[in-house]
Amino acid sequence: MTNLYRALTPAAEAAFSDGVFEADFTSSQERDWLDSGLLELVPRRYRVLSDNYELPKDNTFVATMLVEIEQALVGAGHIERVDDEPSEEDEDEPEDEPVEEAEASATQEES
């Protein structure tokens, strides 16, 4: 399962990405990178699905979770991700599709 990270040094940005990026680290890789101070976890939003989590069912909350913690809670059906994509700093990312093409494809779908 992937997690959201932010590179904290120029060296880490060169190795990974500027700003927020998604990566599929193992738990030990994640621990090494976080302990090194080169990366930090980025908070993401979750929704409570079960009736025995520490927050009430259907509540949403923002948290940073280590990959194994998140896997355990998501796999057990306690929480789910609300936003699967970076929500904090993804405004800088360029649009993949020009506006005209997007409109054209939308029109095709409608017809």
Partner: protein, 139 residues
């Protein structure tokens, strides 16, 4: 709080409250015993070594989503410590209802144990996984 009967203990594992599936909990906060007895002594001199902590919970097994097995099974394969909290009652933490909290790894998970005609129980043993050891917050 005076002496009391344990009826409403609170058990939270990785943020998941499993009190309604538990019927036994043991919180252990230990220090190793070290022998400092030297020649000439007439009695043993002992001191404390490293600390250790352990929480053992006995739970009714439940394979439904979000219940006992679904919550514990991922933790036995995990190397990331989780927070486990135990209180004498389900009331909020306070001076008269302190919590025992530790960052722990699950070292023993008995998937199935029991006898014919008896409720299916499981025992989970968590051991300390941080330098903080067992803490006892009241707020």
């Amino acid at each position: 709080m005076s002496a009391f009967t344990l009826t409403d203990a609170y058990v939270s594992i990785n943020g998941v409250v499993l009190s309604d599936h538990g019927n036994s909990v043991t919180v252990e906060d230990n220090r190793e015993t070290k022998d400092f007895t030297a020649f000439g002594a007439t009695s043993k001199a002992v001191g404390k070594g490293l600390g250790d902590a352990k929480i053992t919970v006995r739970l009714f097994q439940d394979f439904a989503s979000g219940k006992t097995h679904a919550t514990l099974q991922p933790l036995i394969g995990s190397t990331t410590p989780v927070t486990i909290e135990v209180r004498a009652t389900s009331a909020a933490r306070s001076a008269t209802n302190p919590a025992a909290v530790m960052s722990a790894l699950l070292f023993t998970y008995n998937f199935l144990q029991g006898d014919i005609g008896e409720p299916s129980m499981t025992t989970a043993e968590f051991s300390n996984a941080s330098q903080a050891g067992m803490t006892y917050p009241t707020a």
